[in-house]
């Protein structure tokens, strides 16, 4: 990649300014955070040395952070604390007096089996643990999917298409119910894979994809609003916490 000395100079000036502005430790951290934020945002222009530095720092720190978190929030309370509770008394006193639960030897062994992946000679041992993880979790999720994605949907779609309220036709509710029913019906038709989408079936499928696209459009707008709120948060940090322009 082409090197541009001007960027190094700009970076150096930014760092010097950051230290100059930082009169307190908190100020230093805020300035450092702002510098990293601007470094990441500089990717909007193109890949550059600041982005690379921030990216590597971000990846390294987060990987280390999650490893430490995993150790202290998973291994210590959920494995060591279950197998020999008194050992974790200094860290998790609430569980130190509980009886040991030797069932946890099973996940401990499976976890160790996963680590056999690092062995050049017997990496296949890890496959048993992987098979257990995938099989068990898929089975556990099955009921959840069945209940919420299938039966729940069916139940919610069983609505009267013509609603009569007090002897008169409730037009709005009827229209709403018809849209719900048609949306689900044609949406399902679009997801038929073992039949060609031609003729009436093709018409249903096309209505289905239109309904999907309208839904996606609404979802797009809704999610973009959420993303903009994230951007606003960053600008609040830059303009408020860092520069003090916003109160």
């Amino acid at each position: 990649m082409e090197r541009r000395p001007i960027w190094y100079l700009v970076g150096l000036i930014a760092v010097i300014l950051a230290f100059a502005v930082s009169t307190t430790l908190r100020g230093f951290y805020i300035t450092l955070g702002s510098f990293l934020t601007l470094s990441i945002l500089s990717f909007l222009y193109k890949d550059n040395i600041f982005y690379k530095a921030a990216e590597h720092l971000f990846v390294g720190v987060s990987a280390g952070y999650w490893m430490v978190m995993g150790f202290w929030s998973v291994l210590i309370p959920n494995l060591i604390g279950k197998l020999h509770p008194p050992l974790v008394r200094p860290f998790v006193p609430a569980i130190a007096d509980q009886p040991p639960s030797y069932w946890y030897f099973i996940p401990a062994v499976l976890g160790l089996m996963l680590l056999w992946r690092l062995s050049p000679k017997w990496p296949w041992i890890s496959r048993w643990a992987l098979a257990f993880i995938v099989g068990t979790t898929a089975g556990l999720n099955f009921i959840r999917y069945m209940a919420s994605d299938l039966l729940g949907q069916i139940n919610s779609t069983m609505v009267p298409l013509v609603v009569i309220e007090g002897g008169a036709l409730d037009t709005l509710t009827s229209m709403s119910n018809i849209v719900i029913f048609l949306g689900v019906f044609c949406g399902l038709i679009y997801f038929f894979f073992s039949k060609e989408h031609k003729g009436a079936f093709g018409v249903g499928s096309r209505i289905g994809i239109w309904i999907l696209m309208v839904t996606f459009g609404a979802g797009f707008g809704y999610t973009v609003m959420a993303r903009i709120s994230l951007l606003v948060g960053r600008f609040q940090f830059l303009l408020g916490d860092w520069l003090g322009i916003l109160s």
Partner: protein
């Protein structure tokens, strides 16, 4: 100024007289207090008559709550004769509980002189997190008149205040309270204990029957596929573009980026993505194109490594496989995105696959890939992220198309058979949907109720 001695205010004679007076008063008070009968010093106290108690609840019965994961006991009783009938003045029932202990009892904890008061301390089992005292009745709840049932559902954690252990027996009784404050005690129930059930009989109809039907369809179509029957699957643009995208990368001599998403190994979308990865890797191995698979989850990375290794083996090029084709980045969402974005721009990937579970990173990834000029194929079952892929990628597999793609590309009888069975199941449910709408119009609520789950 000379000091003048103060004359004594009390002489010994005065003190003696005062003492005798105090003693006389004290004697008189004690004597009067001990004198029975109506004296001037006795204050007559009129007590209100005790409120008349209602008829008690009868037939109290406690049993393990059915179809649950344990930690619950159901208590039932027959309503008081004054609840809705008789004097009709019952306002509520109060449910009480005491342990019926048969476990080890610490002799140190038995208070002297009271053989019925026994302390059960779970330290006997090695923990002091909870304890119950026999013959101490704890109030569980007040339930309104007309009730004949209460579910004593407790916490599962030993440390929780409402912890209700499994396999420890408890006895219950119910107090019937009327509007005058009268209280009547029921008999004490026979001991009952909580335990979890492996099978929820209430779910058999909703879950069991569809599962059996679907399994039958799956087995039928898998057998059909194995026996060589041609199972038609309509072409999907995103799937057809896979070969083209790999060919483009080969021609340009640039790597292919395959992003498995942020899902864990148990996500169906991740599993489908791994199947497609296998197919893509085979092609890549045949074309000797470079493949990059940055991973977010360590377990997914392990599975992806196995998948890629096997695919290279199947393609007849095991020597081409390198462990660092599939690598772990970090388990922090945006740090992962930053790293993958950097990879796209620095390695100038010709083709990017985003298949699996995606969250807020979808647009950032797809937009960067678009800026880098890569051909992009995406697919996810997250409806909130599909719009971003649709606008920024060349081809998008929408929802279930991702699962179909894995079957279509692999052409495995098991996957094809399952896909076909899925289509038939959808047809059945479309029929059910129509029946449900007709039923709703005709006020046949039983159809909707059949598909209503209440766990």
């Amino acid at each position: 100024m000379p000091h003048t001695p103060t004359p004594p205010y009390t002489s010994p004679a005065r003190l003696l007289a005062l003492g005798m007076v105090v003693l006389a008063m004290l004697w008189a008070t004690l004597t009067l207090a001990q004198t029975p009968g109506d004296t001037a010093a006795t204050v007559a106290v009129e007590t209100a008559p005790a409120p008349q108690p209602p008829l008690p609840a009868t037939g109290i019965r406690a049993y393990d709550a059915p179809n649950d994961g344990g930690h619950a006991i159901t208590v039932e009783w027959t309503a008081s004769g004054d609840d809705g009938q008789g004097r009709n003045n019952v306002v509520m029932y109060r449910v009480l509980r005491t342990p019926a202990l048969r476990g080890p009892i610490s002799p140190d904890s038995v208070p002297p002189g009271d053989p019925s008061y026994r302390l059960f301390d779970s330290r006997a089992y090695g923990t002091a997190a909870w304890r119950f005292i026999e013959n101490q009745w704890d109030t569980l709840a007040d339930v309104p008149m007309g009730s004949t049932r209460y579910e004593n559902r407790g916490g599962k954690q030993r440390a929780s205040n409402d912890f209700l252990p499994d396999h420890i027996e408890f006895r219950y009784k119910v107090l019937t309270i009327n509007d005058a404050g009268g209280i009547a005690e029921s008999e004490v129930s026979a001991p009952a204990s909580a335990s979890g059930q492996y099978l929820h009989t209430g779910k058999l109809l909703h879950i069991g029957i569809p599962v059996v039907i679907f399994l039958a369809l799956v087995l039928y179509f898998i057998n059909a596929a194995k026996s060589g029957r041609e199972l038609y699957i309509r072409p999907l643009a995103g799937i057809n573009a896979v070969d083209e995208a790999i060919g483009r990368a080969t021609e340009m001599n640039r790597p292919i980026l395959y992003v498995l998403g942020l899902g864990a190994a148990d996500e169906i979308a991740t599993i489908a993505s791994l199947t497609i990865l296998s197919r893509v890797t085979k092609k890549v191995a045949e074309h000797r194109t470079e493949l990059l698979v940055p991973c977010y989850d360590a377990v997914v990375m392990s599975i992806a490594q196995e998948t890629v290794k096997q695919a290279y083996l199947d393609a007849g090029r095991p020597d081409e496989y390198k462990d660092d084709i599939v690598y772990f980045v970090t388990q922090e969402q945006f740090a992962y995105v930053a790293a993958v974005n950097g990879t796209m721009l620095r390695r100038q990937t010709a083709t990017n696959f985003y298949l699996g579970v995606f969250f807020a990173e979808s647009l950032i990834l797809a937009e960067t890939g678009s800026i880098a000029g890569s051909i992009q194929i995406s697919g996810t079952d997250r409806t909130t992220q599909i719009p971003f892929f649709v606008v920024a990628c060349d081809y998008t597999l929408i929802g279930e198309e991702l699962f179909a793609a894995s079957a279509y590309l692999s052409r495995e009888p098991k996957l094809l058979g399952t896909l076909k069975a899925q289509d038939y199941a959808k047809a059945i449910f479309l029929g059910v949907l129509i029946a449900g709408c007709v039923g709703a119009a005709l006020q046949w609520q039983w159809i909707a109720r059949t598909f209503h789950l209440s766990f």
